[in-house]
């Protein structure tokens, strides 16, 4: 098992260079850069949580998900909308099924806000 090049851990010259480059990139970028580190525990436990965590966070934070109360059918339509209009890479059928089921269950119309 290989160790990650996390700050404070093992550094190679390339990693040091890269950290500097990233630090620079962050410093010149917009306020949008100051995002919180995502934590999977922001999402309720259950089947499909990992699929939601990795696929959705690629483009947007979880706050937009948690605000919604939509039936599975609408979540399913949203997957098409994200592929067609928002440049999301198409999900594998298994991932899509798991994601839509998870969202419909945890962020469905009858879940209290």
């Amino acid at each position: 098992m290989k160790k990650a090049f996390v700050p404070g851990g093992r550094f190679t010259p390339a990693a040091v260079f890269l950290s500097a480059a990233l630090g620079f990139a962050t410093a010149i970028s917009s306020p949008a850069a100051s995002q919180a580190m995502p934590d999977i525990n922001e999402l309720p436990e259950g089947p499909g949580r990992e699929e939601v965590f990795y696929n959705c966070y690629a483009c947007h934070s979880f706050r937009i998900i948690k605000q919604q109360r939509l039936p599975e059918s609408t979540w399913d339509e949203l997957m098409d909308w994200m592929v067609e209009k928002q440049a999301m890479p198409p999900l594998s059928p298994d991932d899509r099924k798991a994601i839509v089921k998870y969202l419909g269950k945890h962020y469905g119309p009858n879940v209290p806000r």
Binding site: M1, F5, F17, A21, A36, E50, E51, Q68, D95, P109
Partner: protein
């Protein structure tokens, strides 16, 4: 980003990188290590990592496989929007935040309290704002590119007050719930804007008779980081584009237009859905038909052309684009939840607005709408600015009260006290604002 984990173990990103960095790379960013141990990031994976660290990564080819981006490793703080205070944050990527009603009390909403609605990412700040370039093209005789510095010098500078409101303000009230940011009452604000009239700029370019609509484009990167995609591109019909209070602005409340509000250059088309007021403006494309950029078509910023039952599926052809926003008001003082004195006069105040129209009257009720009392209402300093209203109320005895406000426009149309007509995307909820107070 198709991913199949060997064992269904759930864990956080840091832990994932700690245990198996190469797998983490592959699941999170679709990055596969090459023989030289450097990861090759491309396409969606590169876009994803760029989106997460908030910038493109110029040296991505050099990035060692399994390296957790430092921007992620370091930043574990709660999300805070630079230059903002006291906001209710609905989303942090893209950034969307509204203003609690009591912070809307000043006649001019301070920049630090003005709501933020973004569809994409915030672009990098322009190092030389006066060199920012705007293109005017399409159905004009002389297409032009003009720098912000020249815009300031060559056209009459105009300062107005104008209110902007998100088309989805109040979305939270609809049932069945509509998708999108669940705005309550505070996706609205009134600022002083300095700029030039869009009409003057369009006249300089020379409108052809075929000009019917504008299409606005901005520099905000799409969430996917695909440089060919626009985050949003809306526009207005020619009569609104030529309105003397539709401006191209570089100043907000006496300050250089803040980055988060579209600086250095944006459209302000006050009284219409905020999305007509394109931020980070780079182009006004004059169209010979209703503009069809992202956010103009389908069910976006549209409502059914006829009333529908809640939850109805409405065909795209039956959806009509929103123009002027409807009459509305907000109670900014006292703050909801405040204790007040029973049987003594209590000052209540707020603002009212009506899209392109004026507000004629505001009424308040302290008995759940059974009786209404007329409030004092000031004229707007100019059309499209919101209007101050105030009233003295008396709460007859100890107990819980709600204060409701209801504005009426100059065509006699009032705010409903219940949620108005349901629509698929949850726009135009202009129902009465209600606050609660306890009299003691």
């Amino acid at each position: 980003m198709t991913r199949k984990s060997p064992k269904k173990q759930e864990r956080g990103l840091c832990e994932l990188y700690e245990n198996d960095p190469e797998r983490a790379d592959s699941v999170v960013f679709g990055r596969v290590a090459e023989n030289d141990r450097r990861g090759f990031l491309k396409g969606a994976g590169l876009a994803t990592m760029g989106a997460i660290v908030g910038s493109s990564i110029p040296f991505s080819r050099n990035m060692p496989a399994g390296l957790i981006p430092q921007a992620l490793a370091q930043d574990k703080k709660d999300f805070k929007i630079e230059g903002k205070e006291g906001m209710t944050v609905h989303n942090d990527r893209p950034i969307n935040a509204e203003t609690p009603a009591h912070l809307l009390d000043p006649d001019l909403t301070p920049n630090k309290h003005f709501f933020v609605r973004n569809n994409g990412l915030v672009p990098e700040k322009a190092s030389d704002p006066d060199a920012w370039e705007l293109t005017i093209d399409g159905e004009v005789n002389s297409p032009m590119k003009i720098k912000l510095g020249d815009l300031k010098r060559q056209f009459t500078n105009v300062t107005i007050q104008g209110q902007l409101e998100c088309g989805g303000n109040g979305r939270m009230g609809f049932n069945p719930p509509a998708r999108g940011n669940q705005w309550t009452v505070g996706a609205v604000g009134n600022a002083q804007w300095k700029g030039v009239r869009m009409a003057d700029v369009l006249k300089k370019a020379g409108l052809k008779p075929s000009a019917v609509y504008t299409g606005h484009e901005g520099a905000d990167p799409h969430l996917s980081r695909d440089p060919k995609k626009l985050s949003i591109s809306r526009g207005v019909p020619m009569h609104k584009a030529l309105d003397p209070e539709t401006l191209i602005v570089w100043e907000m409340n006496g300050e250089a237009l803040p980055l988060i509000h579209g600086g250095p250059l944006r459209v302000v088309a006050p009284g219409w859905p905020g999305s007509c007021s394109q931020k980070w403006l780079t182009r006004v494309w004059v169209r010979d038909k209703e503009h069809d950029g992202p956010g103009m078509t389908g069910v976006s910023y549209r409502v059914p052309a006829f009333p529908v039952a809640p939850g109805t599926k409405v065909a795209n052809k039956d959806m009509a684009v929103i123009n002027s926003m409807p009459v509305k008001s907000v109670i900014t003082y006292p703050k909801s939840g405040t204790k007040v004195a029973a049987d003594k006069p209590v000052m209540v105040r707020g603002h009212a607005w009506a899209g392109d129209l004026q507000v004629k009257e505001v009424h308040v009720s302290v008995d759940f709408g059974a009786t209404w009392q007329k409030a004092d209402l000031k004229a707007a300093p100019n059309a499209h600015a919101w209007q101050r209203w105030s009233a003295q109320i008396k709460l007859p005895m100890k107990g819980y009260y709600e204060i409701w406000a209801r504005a009426t426009d100059d065509r006699g149309v009032s705010q409903p006290v219940v949620i108005p007509g349901w629509n698929p995307r949850g726009y135009l909820n202009n129902s009465s604002h209600r606050i609660s107070v306890t009299a003691a």
